[in-house]
Amino acid sequence: MSTAAGHEHHWEWSWAPTAVVIGTFLLVPLGFSAYFVYEDTMLTILFTGLGTPILLAGIARWVHEGLTQKPLVAGLAATALPIFIVSEIFIFLGLFTAYWTMRLSQGGNWPPEGTPELNLLIPVIMTFFLVGSSITYHVAEMKDEAGDMAGFRKWLIITLILGTIFLGLTVYEYQHLLHIGFGPSANAFSTAFYTITGFHASHVLVGLGSFLAVLIPAFKGRSNHTLTASVGVYWHFVDVVWFFVASQIYFW
């Protein structure tokens, strides 16, 4: 199992992982605690203000290195991602288990009192956009494989727009529900509703971020098939999960 790297005589290093971790650390645990636990605006601004640029710099550096350096064994990322997705499936299962437990223990009394009529048209439209974006991403991937950079960028942008609309609809729906006073703390249904749809939406956000990480180098004419394929697998997964979210939360 020899590669060029095998017999090199220097130690490999990269500051990208460290930056991503420290950025994330400032942004999420410290940012969350400053805002929700200590309700301190100055601290929140400090942590998020420091964390965001560090995180972005780390990601940019990491993507750059990923596109310019040879891995020890090429193509393994496309195998690793499905393994990671096993983990993701179980986290969704954990959340759904909570939802099923709460729901089934309530007997016929579901949704509990105080739950407004949900507009079922919204999830239908959202499904439409998300499935569409999976298809357009697939087209983009084919363009990438064929070496058609312009086509790759075009379809990538279309995918990005479709995904953004999906997320926009979530925001729209949340705003409406919050406006009529149906927040996360309203009742058992709102608890599950916001947690599960919100968790899915966070995956959409990560997906959109990874589209950007593919798109920005693509403008410089650079792409990496393994990276493109991995982002695709992740996005299709996010798409498939949505069917469960929609069927369990909206239509059951």
């Binding site: 790297a5 636990v37 909570a98």
Partner: protein, 533 residues
Amino acid sequence: MSAAQSSWKEWVFTTDHKRIGVMYLVGSLAAFAVAGTMALLIRIEQSQLGPNLVGDAFTGGDTYNTWLYFHGAAMILAFLIPGLTGYFANYFIPLMIGANDVAFPRINAFSVWLFFVAIVLALAGFVIPDTPDIMWTGYPPYSVMTSANTSFYVFTVHLLGFSSILGAVNFLVTVVYMRAPGMGWNQLNVFVWTTVAAFVIQLIFIPVLAAAVTMLLFDKYLGTHFFDPAAGGDVLLYQNLFWFYSHPAVYVIFLPAMGVLFEVIAGMAKNRIFNYKACVYGGVWGITLLAGEVWVHHLYVAGMPDWIRVGQMVSTLLISVPVGLMVMSMWGTLYRGAITYNTAMLYAGSCLFLVLIGGLTGIPLAMTSMTVHLSETAFVHAHFHYVMAIFATFAIFSGVYYWFPKISGRMPNEKMGKLGFLINFVGVNVTFWPLFIIGIQGMPRRYWDYQMFPQFEGYHQIAFYGAVIVAVGMAITILNWLFSAIGGEKAPENPWNSASLEWTHCPSPPGPGNFPKDVELTADWTPYNYDKR
């Protein structure tokens, strides 16, 4: 870039699996030292009736609870798991399978940094005014109602969990795709198998814990109602999700610990593994398969429906079958061996007895009706300290001594090593035997004062002396590592004459890229073929 100019970056920002491994070792030992210090405070507090260190009887409990919280959480999540699946896996799996590095070196660096910031966050818990006090189990509704900061607990779990999941992905891909040409599945070191199984467990079960603590966070800070029965939530939901991970987690500790012991014992007895296939396919994978169906044994007294308690009693008891197969193989590996005793082997040898005491005392706990009395008493403490604080910890020590020449290029000081072992071994037994006795008599867990049971004071005192002895032994051991790493005698390439790849094919310590020449293996090679050399 000259070597001198970038040397610190080559450590701090390293993506090399060996250096990352060493970073894991340092981090996990640091966690051990701090959590061990908490244990000493706990033992001092309990050594006599009434308030001792903590101030008064009304609020003193809070102080004690923060120590115990940190002790439990850090020992399991920041010492044992990162020590075994961070240090040992990182350093030795690529060497044992003949790979130049792991599949994703940067993700590996990402994992170790997540681990570091998690420790920083956990320690930060002591400088904030509202130190977490919810125990490592974090059961709601208490963890939601307490005025202490639950969010640091949740995020520590998130960071460590994410770190482990990425580690799992990394190593599973590495072992499947990066083995040296010619290395078949039955030629893997037992340690590689146990670690692969541990990572499979991590991959599947950690996410469920992550989901559980996230719900805790939302319940406390966003006002959701997952665990609030008054609003349609379920109080026991958290416990089920928590133990759905945290029982399998004990095998994330147990399996690699056994793996390390197999390496040490086979290496020091210069013998083949007895019944390798039964050990791997029956033992390791049997445990992995059963691990997910026994979590209710932590909820025997929690008001679960009877049919679940009975069903999981049977599956819990059945764990002794695959564990028994591993035990058979370990014992058989001694049979007609040629054992050389050094510090590593002393620790390994003592583990043979510790696994019996720790494992067998799990059996009455597994029986629903026995647990009705034993649950939540010091008996449980004694059981799990025997498996974790002694068995698994000694397995780690054994491995550290065994591979010490490999990672440092120097020999550990055997005199100090053996002295440390002796003191540790006496100390832990003096500390934890009394807990079995008072446990059977009903000494409750997580009690810093025990007014109603003054008759236990003497036992607590003995345990306190034991803990002091352990502290001395631990200090000797850790200092021995420090001094030996700096000034120890230079080690030969393969001081124990081991047949395993990490000793035979690369220098000590290995340089960048690990192997001076590409590794290629024949069909009859195994890491244990002593009688064929």
